[in-house]
């Protein structure tokens, strides 16, 4: 079953890349407003990554990351998980709040409420843009719930994605989108995690399988 799952996803990577492209396009203009600067986006990459390798996507399982999980319900059920490296997350927060960027490597590093809310708002924009791209291509409606933030080891945060996918196979669909501004690049890593039934519905609605 797992090989089948992986080969179906791999076959349609271009479609998921297109979803990423449309989503990133929406997100870039929304982010520009929030961050008060021009944001450009590059073509995202879509890949099917085995569980055993996924933790290497962001420098290993103990890397400190910000993860935002959004629950989807409606015609499409499941989750979208957005991962941002801590440096990237804090540089966006600093820009939005127009404050100097903080050193994330300090042992006492912790986010203030204001910073957490800002990060959640950024995640909302990114995930909302991505979600509207999925909806416009598949015709499936899904309502996102209030996002949940966790700042912890990459491996621990990824568990949730892998557990849902773990019921279908041994790999996960992964979209990496790069946003650029004057100061450098910011990588947003998206994991699309439909539940078992929605996974089939999504592929069918995109006209891919079924």
């Amino acid at each position: 079953m797992s090989d089948e799952h992986e080969s179906i996803l791999t076959k349609h990577l271009d479609v998921f890349k297109e979803i990423g492209n449309i989503g990133a396009g929406h997100a870039a203009s929304a982010l520009a407003g929030l961050l008060n600067r021009k944001i450009t986006m590059s073509v995202p990459e879509a890949s099917v990554v085995p569980f055993s390798e996924i933790v290497n996507v962001l420098d290993g399982p103990e890397t400190l990351v910000a993860g935002v999980l959004i629950d989807l319900s409606g015609e499409l059920n499941g989750y979208i998980l957005l991962l941002l490296g801590m440096e990237d997350a804090m540089s966006m927060v600093a820009q939005a709040l127009q404050e100097p960027r903080r050193d994330t490597s300090e042992p006492t590093f912790e986010l203030s409420h204001m910073e957490q809310d800002t990060l959640l708002e950024i995640a909302n924009i990114l995930v909302g843009s991505f979600l509207s791209a999925i909806s416009s291509l598949s015709g499936l409606g899904a309502t996102p719930t209030v996002p949940q933030l966790a700042i912890d080891m990459l491996g621990a945060i990824l568990n949730i994605a892998m557990i849902e996918y773990g019921q279908i196979g041994d790999s996960v669909l992964f979209l990496n989108t790069k946003f650029s501004d004057m100061d450098g690049d910011i990588n947003g890593h998206f994991f699309l995690i439909p539940d078992y039934n929605s996974y089939k519905i999504l592929l069918e609605s995109l006209g891919l399988e079924g």
Binding site: M1, F51, V55, V146, M153, A156, I157, N159
Partner: protein, 159 residues
């Protein structure tokens, strides 16, 4: 001395002076078995509570089948089941949100599945550090049987 990494949905056994480690447990559970006479043990990093319904998939991914497989591999090293003791860690609730949501409660179910299978196999659980909202990295030190737990922001401890 070698440090042997146990990946996600993976299990390994080792003898002193080696160390078994698994990095970044979230809602997954880390189950360790240890025999102090032979200074040998095993570690599993499991994602889901039970193998039932998922036959054909990797047995290390599931709590119940992973524990049974660990015991088999330890028995092959000449270790007797009755000399084994267990420790269980992980099973955190990384994201808040809907408390009735099955996926988000998976950590709790994984930990419960670990306790249940170990009880069924009559292996005593001598230490437990499960739940909470934080990730854990664990190391089982074969020389002593001590289990070191490392977290982000909550420091290190031994159980």
């Amino acid at each position: 001395m070698a440090t042997i990494i146990v990946g996600m949905a993976d299990l390994k056994v080792a003898k002193a002076p080696d160390i078994l480690t698994t990095l970044g447990l979230g809602s997954c559970v880390g189950i360790t078995l240890y025999d102090k006479i032979n200074k040998a043990g095993g570690m599993a990093h499991c994602m889901l509570p039970t193998y039932k319904g998922f036959e054909g998939q990797s047995i290390a991914k599931f709590v119940d089948s992973a524990v049974i497989e660990l015991i088999k591999q330890l028995e092959r090293l000449g270790i007797q089941r009755r000399s084994l003791v267990a420790k269980i860690t992980g099973g955190a609730h990384m994201f808040g949100g809907n408390a009735n949501n099955d996926l988000l409660k998976i950590g709790e179910r994984n930990a419960a599945a670990g306790l249940a299978i170990l009880k069924q196999l009559a292996i005593p659980v001598i230490a437990q550090d499960t739940g909470g909202k934080h990730g854990r990295t664990i190391e089982l030190i074969m020389d002593t049987g001590a289990l070191k737990i490392r977290t982000v922001g909550l420091g290190e401890k031994f159980i």
